[in-house]
Amino acid sequence: MQISYFSWVRERMGIAEEHVALPPDVAELSALIAWLAARDARGAHAFAEPERIRAAIDGTMIGPDARIADAREIALFPPVTGG
């Protein structure tokens, strides 16, 4: 699965994207965020406040309970601020 990061999430992770092999018990978005936060110090910094993280799967915005098992690409980012 490819994960891409944007804005301060990208800065805190130190990378724009990565490929990961998820453990089978990481099935929902909230579990993915918790897994990334526990993986290393960069993840702990980027995902210290899960309520400030938004996400999209293959181009569609999703909520924390969304299942991610079949996703090709997940984007993780802060609330958007365009306009």
Binding site: S4, F6, S7, W8, A56, G59, M61, A75, F77, P78, P79, V80, T81, G82, G83
Partner: protein, 149 residues
């Protein structure tokens, strides 16, 4: 005609209006958003998603055209580095009548603030750099359009 663009280059408002209004519509409403120079702002940088930002704007333009039966919608958002006074976003909505054009223009600027993957980063004269936080009032304005017909 629907025209949507996400571009690093400057937005030529006059040229876009000419292109948009080639159909000679009865009413054209416009919104031009510019970079404010508040608080010693030196640069505004807009980060975007290479695919999804355009897709979200295209979907909003399509939705507005359908909801208000608009013959023409133009939605252009600039990305990358900008200076105070630069145009960030241009919304043009046309209809035979003013009420539809004005409503669609307001819908588009309200919703693009919450629906499109765009993030503002501010750099100030004293070297401070900060990402702009989303505002509750923007969320409230965007949500209003869910209830109205």
């Amino acid at each position: 005609m629907i025209h949507v663009a996400v571009q690093p280059g400057i937005i030529d408002v006059a040229a876009e209006l000419v292109r948009h209004d080639a159909g000679g519509h009865g009413a054209s409403a416009s919104f031009v958003g510019r970079v404010r120079g508040d608080g010693g702002l030196a640069e505004l940088f807009l980060e975007h998603h290479p695919v999804m930002t355009h897709a979200a704007l295209a979907e909003l333009a399509r939705a507005a055209a359908e909801r208000w039966a608009l013959p023409a919608v133009t939605l252009i958002h600039r990305v990358g580095a900008m200076l105070p006074g630069d145009t960030i976003v241009l919304v043009l909505a046309s209809s035979p009548h003013r009420s539809e054009a004005l409503a669609a223009c307001a819908f588009l600027i309200d919703r693009l603030k919450t629906d499109a993957m765009l993030w503002k980063r501010e750099t100030f004269d004293d070297g401070r750099v900060q990402w702009v936080e989303q505002r509750e009032t923007d969320l409230d304005r965007a949500a209003c359009w869910e209830d109205r017909s």
